[in-house]
């Protein structure tokens, strides 16, 4: 068993052609083996899109186990590898990726990264968040998605933001009917006015979907408990705090002091 797994890793390292590399990465990804994470991450910087796609798929399948290594990858200065890592984080929906996705969705240079990040913001594992952090995180996601849906110049990024808004509206249906109405209002506007017919159509589909859902009927996926530690939440909060502080330090609602108080209560609660 261990030998055959080792040989899967060696096959990736020794691949001498693009088709062989892609095949080897696919096989390694399909093994769903945590020890494969460093190899899959290394593939992200090989500058081979086919192999990178397979590696991202494998990392997304491995889920939160891959997150620390992905976050480490984000600190490297290889832009291509970084963009693939963001796409993997978006697919995993782990809260430790939230701050990265907020930044990527609104400001990344590449449309494919903004596209993946916008979708990821909608698919966040909200049920992991401690209650007092949840609202702030969701509000940030809502604001970022509405901004992207309205202002991004690429149709595909706006399309993705609409998909993200649909998921977010579902997640906040019970706790924040006001935000849900805000999303519906936006979708109605986009249906009539977006420059791209594809975005109009997707907004229409999202609106129909949300109108068919009643709050009570919104089904919750099997809720798995959060594996994150108090330190992880502290990091997430610090990231949100820095983001807020940079963006609009004067607005009362976004006053970073609110976060500082929360940070204190968070460490004592967890």
């Amino acid at each position: 068993m261990a030998d055959s797994r080792l040989s899967l890793i060696q096959a990736v390292e020794r691949a001498d052609s693009s088709p062989r590399l892609i095949k080897a990465v696919r096989e390694l990804a399909a093994a769903r083996w945590q020890e494969a994470i460093p190899t899959l991450i290394a593939v992200l910087s090989y500058n081979n899109p086919g192999a990178a796609v397979a590696a991202v798929d494998g990392l997304v399948d491995l889920g939160e186990a891959a997150v620390p290594a992905l976050l480490e990858q984000l600190d490297q200065h290889n832009y291509t590898a970084r963009s693939w890592a963001i796409r993997a984080l978006a697919g995993i929906g782990d809260p430790r990726g939230l701050v990265t996705l907020l930044g990527a969705a609104t400001a990344d240079f590449s449309p494919s990264v903004r596209r993946a990040a916008a979708r990821g913001l909608g698919m966040m594992k909200w049920h992991w968040f401690p209650e007092n952090l949840l609202e702030i995180a969701q509000e940030e996601a809502l604001e970022a998605l509405l901004f992207v849906a309205e202002h991004d110049e690429e149709w595909v990024v706006r399309y993705s933001a609409v998909v993200g808004l649909q998921s977010l509206a579902d997640a906040i249906a019970a706790s924040h009917p006001d935000w849900r109405s805000q999303i519906l209002t936006y979708l109605e506007r986009a249906m009539a006015h977006d420059q791209s017919w594809a975005v109009r159509a997707r907004s229409c589909m999202a609106k129909q979907y949300l109108q068919e859902q009643t709050v009570a009927a919104a089904s919750r996926p099997e809720e798995q408990a959060s594996p994150l530690s108090a330190t992880d939440w502290q990091h997430i909060l610090t990231g949100l705090y820095d983001r807020k502080a940079r963006e609009r330090s004067v607005l009362a609602e976004g006053d970073p002091r609110r976060y500082q108080e929360l940070a204190l209560s968070l460490t004592s609660n967890l």
Partner: protein
């Protein structure tokens, strides 16, 4: 990153201008530049007027005049300014440019002819059909590249595409032989045109087949053709072919937008919803 080089099309401005400078020209300035003497500024202005869809009569006149420019030449004898002007005119929708574009079909520069054909197709003006058909009249044998090269004598892909878009059913007998052209890419262009002219799904299915071929550039081409003809039954095959998600999304978007026109938006058919569901999975 290979994928982003396809989707960051807004970054692709010519002559090394950075994307941030794109909108810094004014319309008057661009027209003045186009009528000026600096080859770099003229070339850029022609692109710019098309990019920002400046369709004022003054802009169109200046671009039409540029179609017969003699001053901007490459070492090989090409006409870069004419190419850009021809491309821009296709985007501006002014039929006054048709005669000038038809004259470009006789230009020595392959790329001027190709740009003019694409623009005539975009303008939807059928008066160019006889000229386009004359390119095909010598039969398939005459379309082979010269020995030892891959360069075709004529932009056959653009010609076939234009005949399909323009609904030139009279050209069917000239198009059909291209289904057997040694270049797969021209087989696809022929299949696309045949489908547009006959609505016979067997031609579109040839393109669907091509999605499981083993060469990435050919799969990309087939995907773009299927998007252009809005062939909904191809949606699932496009979503699962081995190619960049960004290109799959563009092809599916084209199919979706055709479908929405048929559905009379804002009602959404099951087909439209299926295409969007596939697109969601590629984001």
């Amino acid at each position: 990153m290979l994928e982003s080089s396809f989707e960051d099309s807004r970054m692709q401005s010519p002559v090394g201008q950075s994307a941030g400078d794109e909108s810094s020209l004014t319309v008057e300035q661009a027209i003045a530049n186009l009528r000026g003497s600096d080859p770099g500024l003229r070339y850029y202005a022609a692109w710019w007027l098309g990019r920002f869809r400046v369709s004022t009569p003054e802009a169109v006149d200046a671009l039409i005049d540029s179609l017969s420019d003699e001053s901007d030449r490459t070492a090989e004898g090409g006409y870069p300014l004419r190419r850009n002007a021809a491309r821009a005119l296709g985007k501006l929708g002014d039929r006054r440019s048709v005669p000038g574009l038809i004259q470009c079909l006789a230009c020595d520069d392959f790329y001027v002819r190709e740009a003019a054909i694409q623009s005539l197709a975009m303008l939807g003006d059928r008066s160019c059909v006889p000229a386009l058909m004359s390119f095909l009249e010598d039969g398939l044998a005459a379309t082979q590249p010269e020995a030892g090269t891959v360069q075709l004598q004529q932009p056959y892909g653009a010609i076939l595409e234009a005949l399909g878009v323009l609904g030139a059913t009279e050209a069917l007998p000239l198009i059909e032989p291209f289904l057997n052209h040694p270049f797969e890419i021209l087989q696809y262009a022929a299949a696309r045109a045949m489908y547009e002219l006959t609505q016979d799904s067997s031609y579109a299915e040839r393109l669907v087949q091509a999605l499981s071929g083993d060469k990435l550039p050919l799969r990309r081409a087939a995907m773009a053709d299927l998007g252009a003809i809005g062939y909904v039954p191809a949606a699932r095959a496009i979503a699962s072919t081995l190619a960049e998600n960004s290109l799959k999304l563009i092809a599916l978007k084209d199919i979706l937008e055709r479908q929405i026109q048929r559905d009379s938006f804002p009602s959404l058919s099951a087909d439209a919803i299926q295409v969007m569901t596939l697109m969601d999975g590629l984001l």
